[in-house]
């Protein structure tokens, strides 16, 4: 496919690897923030072809993985209410909550449907005017404008039976929390290409200015990733720290202003809970006053007290503090058919990626 196959060219990849080898002299630890990067890095064996002193660690960039149990439990509790249809992206189905999952609830007969696009939630709401349709709205800034469009359309079309369990997350505040906590050493960031397609470079400037670390917004094909790593290594060797764009074919400094405006038509920034990282100021979106009627958190519903599996290391894995191989459950009791934590469920979860490729 155009814009994909060209960025998988073996000869150019070999040249880039030689460039990295020649440029890099210092031991460095780079974090790929996005789960889609983790998958590409493992799929193309990129960790194995880098010099030994360049280590890649995986970060918190998997929306399914960082959704806290309390929100999954709320979705499960809602699914048990009368006349409710839950609509969700497929990845959320198998994520274990405290005692159940959406998949188990569906098997029990609850009306839970998988959608590919937020616009399908509108269709279902129109089709079933007597039901309350609840969209489990998770995702990073890539997905948020698409959720905002669904909300704006619902308002336009005077749909009163579509609601949102809003658990969206903003990536930059999580990176701030990671750097601030100093629990993991990061010498540079491979920043998420598609989140950045929406938000541009500005929200990341603190990484360079406040923490003195370089970061490169990077695409997802092997040549993109190798070039991103090479750009980072160059900055590190030259003691530079700036936010650069490797993925220029779709990322502009100012992002996508139309998409950003859609988000802020319906949401404002607010604190959000992340699995592993806890509550982070401004790391989520909350409904603006004029759209609060669509917030499912207004529903009166009894939710079981949330609990985590005591041995699951997903929280630490998401911060780059531990790797899946350090988890006692990994591959023994926790595997894709029986995931204990969300990092094993999502196809871009670090545990799932290790299970598949390591």
């Amino acid at each position: 496919m155009k814009f994909i196959d060209e960025f998988r060219d073996k000869e150019i990849a070999k040249g880039l690897i030689r460039r990295i080898q020649k440029t890099s002299t210092r031991p460095v630890q780079l974090m790929e923030v996005c789960g889609t990067h983790t998958v590409s890095i493992f799929r193309y064996g990129i960790r194995d072809i880098l010099p030994n002193h360049i280590k890649l660690i995986s970060g918190p960039g998997c929306p399914v993985c960082v959704t806290p149990n309390v929100d999954i439990d709320l979705a499960i509790a809602l699914s048990r209410q009368k006349d409710v249809i839950i609509v969700t992206f497929g990845d959320m189905m198998k994520v274990p909550g405290s005692t159940s999952s959406l998949q188990k609830e569906k098997a029990e007969g609850r009306d839970i449907r998988i959608i590919y696009s937020s616009l399908e939630a509108l269709k279902i709401a129109k089709e079933y005017p007597g039901k309350r349709v609840v969209f489990l709205a998770i995702g990073f800034e890539t997905t948020s404008p698409t959720i905002a469009v669904a909300i704006l359309r619902a308002r336009e079309e005077k749909l009163h039976n579509l609601f949102f369990l809003n658990s969206q997350k903003r990536v930059p505040p999580a990176l701030y929390a990671l750097l601030h906590s100093q629990q993991v050493k990061v010498d540079g960031f491979i920043l998420p290409g598609h989140v950045s397609t929406i938000i541009g470079t500005d929200p990341y400037q603190f990484i360079a200015k406040e923490f003195g670390k370089p970061a490169v917004i990077t695409g997802f094909e092997p040549l993109d990733i190798l070039q991103g790593i090479w750009m980072l290594v160059q900055q590190i060797e030259e003691n530079q720290a700036s936010i650069e764009i490797q993925y220029r074919r779709v990322v502009h400094e100012n992002g996508n202003p139309i998409a950003i405006n859609k988000i802020y038509e319906v949401f404002e920034k607010g604190e959000s809970d992340w699995r592993g990282l806890g509550g982070i100021p401004d790391s989520g979106y909350r409904f603006k006053e004029s759209y609060k009627e669509m917030d499912v958190r207004n529903f009166e519903v009894e939710v079981e007290p949330s609990k985590e599996h005591p041995e699951c290391l997903c929280g630490e894995v998401l911060q780059g503090i531990k790797i899946p191989l350090e988890c006692h459950l990994f591959k023994k009791v926790c595997h894709p058919e029986n995931p204990i934590g969300p990092c094993m469920v999502s196809i871009e979860g670090t545990c799932h990626t290790y299970y598949k490729y390591q």
Binding site: T36, Y116, F140, T197
Partner: protein, 72 residues
């Protein structure tokens, strides 16, 4: 979750485009990327075009990488 895939716009009607994604035609919303023309490529995420793919930038990047690879 943040997967994005490029596709070529083959037809536009109001704010919906028919986009050729690897040989399959799909209806894609242009709400977030309205200024796009037939023949151009867009990056698609969950049924929405979220940005135009800049062919010139892509070619420049590849040319630069090719030169760098050959020169080492």
């Amino acid at each position: 979750m943040c997967l994005g895939i490029p596709g070529r716009v083959v037809e536009i009607e109001k704010n919906v485009a028919k986009v050729d994604v690897g040989g399959l035609l799909r209806d894609i919303s242009l709400d977030l990327c309205p200024e796009v023309s037939v023949g151009e490529y867009v990056l698609i995420h969950t049924g929405f075009a979220i940005q135009k793919v800049d062919e010139e930038e892509a070619t420049e990047t590849l040319d630069l990488l090719r030169k760098m690879a050959e020169a080492i």
